[in-house]
Each structure stands twice: as C-alpha cells, then as structure tokens.
C-alpha cells in the first residue's frame, strides 16, 4: 500500500514533473483561450480543479463496477455532469466570472487533462491516491493558468488582478492580450519552467 512519502511524490508530480500545462501540454484549449487576465486564469483553474477532483473520486469509486468496453462513455457522463453543476453554480453565485469564462466552462468537458487522469490514474488506483493525484494535477493547472494569465495581463494591459500600475493611456503590448500572445507567452513560460525544473530534478 502507498505510504505518505508516495502521496507526497504523487502530489508534487502534478505540479512539477508532470505539470499538465508546461510539461504534458494537456488542456490547451482553456489554457490559451481564457488566460487573458490573471483572474480569468485563476477562475478557470479552480473550476477545472473542482471537476477533476470530483471526477477522480467518482471514477475511482466505481472503477470495478464499470465494464471495460463502456468505460469512456461512463467517464464522460460523470465529467459532463460535474461541469454542468459548476456552470450552474457559477451562474448563480459568481455571475461576473461566469460571464468572463463564457463558452470555456462547458468546454471543460473535453479538457483531455480530466479524462486523461480518469483513464490513466483514477481507474487504476484507490480513492486516496486518486484524490491526491487530482489535487496535484489540479493545483499544477491552477498555477500554470494563473502564471500565464498574469504574464499576459502584465504585458498586454499593464495590470495584475485588475490592479493597474500604468496610466490609463499608456500603450501596452496589446499583442499579449490577443490570441497570438497566448502562444508566445505559453512557449516562453514552458521553456523557463522546464529549464528550472531540469536543474532541481
């Protein structure tokens, strides 16, 4: 059985060694689509973290009951249900964030990070390990999206978490707010992240 050291490694691998965004390059659609500001990145990250955690829990609980041939449809139904719940709760209680994220909330369903963890981890491991795995991967995703959003917001809008540190009229690198800027910022962040973790690994 797994001991505490394994759990710690299991948790940290999602953040560093197998960071879903910077290392595995999973879930690129929301990563590139919503990270035009740090707050959007954070909101999207937390929504994804919640869905990932819940789906890992349920998949790990029912794994022995699901026939092998229908496991993917079963996982997708579970994930889609949690995504719809997140969407309804956001619309009811955080309408501001709901408007900002828009179409990208329903698209969490097709985030390959979530199905990937259900298929490759939760369906093969026990409940506790699956929770730890979901938390690690989810936190890694949150950090990556917030970092990317912050980088783009600072360069493109001269602000961080809506706090403006240049004057209203100052010209900023608008490119970084626009879609191409997402690719450029992601590439540089991935390079820096991999350089840094190579040394410590």
């Amino acid at each position: 059985m797994a001991n505490t050291l394994d759990h710690k490694q299991n948790f940290l691998k999602g953040i560093i060694k197998e960071n879903p965004v910077f290392v595995m390059l999973l879930g690129m659609c929301p990563t590139l689509g919503v990270t035009s500001s740090a707050f959007n990145g954070l909101g999207m990250g937390v929504a994804t973290l919640f869905v990932l955690l819940m789906s890992n829990i349920v998949v790990s609980l029912i794994k022995t009951q699901v026939p092998n041939k229908v496991r993917i449809p079963a996982f997708i139904i579970i994930i889609a249900s949690f995504v719809t719940i997140v969407e309804m709760v956001l619309e009811a209680f955080i309408p501001f964030l709901y408007e900002q994220l828009g179409i990208f909330i329903p698209l969490i369903v097709v985030n390959c990070l979530i199905l990937g963890r259900a298929e490759s981890f939760a369906s093969k491991n026990n409940l506790l390990a699956s929770i730890v795995d979901a938390l690690g991967m989810g936190v890694g995703f949150v950090i990556a999206l917030t970092a990317l959003g912050a980088a783009r917001e600072i360069l493109g809008n001269g602000s961080i978490f809506e706090f403006k540190f240049v004057s209203e009229d100052a010209s900023t690198f608008i490119l970084f707010i626009l879609p191409p800027g997402a690719f450029i910022a992601l590439a540089y962040l991935a390079v820096v992240f991999n350089k840094m973790t190579q040394k410590t690994a």
Partner: protein, 198 residues
C-alpha cells in the same frame, strides 16, 4: 485492477445507472440554483438602471414595456422612470450582433427629449483589454449629454462623431449600433412611456 467482463446486459445496466444518477443530481442542482440565478440577473438589471437613469422613485422593473422590432432577435425593453409621477426619462436596451465576438447589449438612459444620460454595457464578449474598454469611463463619457438626433453614433472613420476605441473599431461600431437601436425604440415608443398609468 481486474477488468470487469463486458456483456450487453451489464454495459446497458451500468450506463443506465450512471445516466440516471447524473440526471437526478443535475435536476437537483438546477432546482437549487434557479432562484439565485434569477436573482443575479435581476440585480444586474437593477444596478444598470440605477447607473443610467436620473433620480427616480417608481419601480421601472415592474413597469417595463417590451417592444418587438424586426432587426433584433430579443424584444427591446423600455423602463420608464418617474419622479413623483412625473416622467423624467427612460432606460432602453439595445443590441447589436455585429460585435467582434457577437452580441453587444447595452442599456441607455435617456432624458425625456432623447438626450443620452448614461450608457451601461449589459452583455459583451469583446476582446479583453481592447473591446472591453467600451465599459470604461473615458469611452462612455463622450456620449453623455449628446442627443442622437444631432450626434451621429457612427465612428469617425465612417462619417460619424464617435471616437473609436484604439484597436477595437468593430466593437465601437457595435456599441454605436446598439445605442442607435435603443434611441430609435425610445423615440418610437415615447408616448406609451410618458402616459401615466394610474
């Protein structure tokens, strides 16, 4: 992990149970959030009304007049504002589908003669940092106190008088169109609003 045998019966059964559980939990959450969702939408509307209307002491939300026009998908909503039963203006919604990413919906507050009091953006999906600046004070300022009868709501590039947002001419154009739609609806339906209903 021991893989479970896939027979027709257990595949159908398992998927049936999962979809049933999913359906039930979704229905339950939908019920729970129905009221807060409606409340959030209403709160947003009331806030917008307060920012665009002059001082009023009636309840515009319950006295709303809805008008269907050909160009718009949703009906236009007109909210009359009365101060001590005297008509002081109205808030009118207007929309344009021609934003950079689709729908731009605004609420425009008019004084009785059609002069713009203030404009609030209700819905937009424009580019963050560019088109979203249509909400900024600096941009909205140029519309205040202008009467669309003499103030052309097109952008300067197209012969109008609106200073376009830098890098977001399309968003600005949609904003102007939506405002124009609200103005037209207001002028066409003013009689219904002014007429005291009690």
């Amino acid at each position: 992990m021991k893989k479970k045998e896939s027979t027709l019966i257990n595949m159908v059964l398992v998927l049936f149970v999962i979809t049933l559980a999913a359906g039930l939990s979704l229905g339950y959450v939908n019920d729970l959030t129905l009221e807060p969702k409606a409340k959030a939408r209403l709160a947003k509307k009331v806030n917008a009304l307060k920012t665009v209307l002059p001082q009023f002491n009636n309840a515009p939300v319950s006295e709303v007049v809805k008008v269907k026009i050909e160009q718009a998908k949703d009906s236009i909503e007109l909210y009359p504002a009365l101060q001590d039963s005297v008509f002081v203006g109205a808030a009118v919604t207007g929309a344009s589908e021609r934003g950079y990413s689709g729908l731009v919906k605004v609420m425009v507050g008019f004084e009785p003669d059609g002069t713009i009091k203030n404009i609030a953006v209700l819905e937009q999906k424009e580019t963050p940092g560019l088109g979203t600046k249509m909400k900024s004070e600096k941009f909205v300022k140029q519309f205040r106190g202008k009467n669309p009868a003499s103030f052309n709501l097109k952008v300067k590039k197209e012969g109008g008088e609106v200073d376009a947002l830098a890098g977001a001419t399309i968003s600005t154009r949609a904003f102007g169109e939506a405002t124009q739609q609200a103005y037209d609806a207001y002028m066409n339906n003013k009689e219904i609003l002014v007429k005291p209903n009690n």
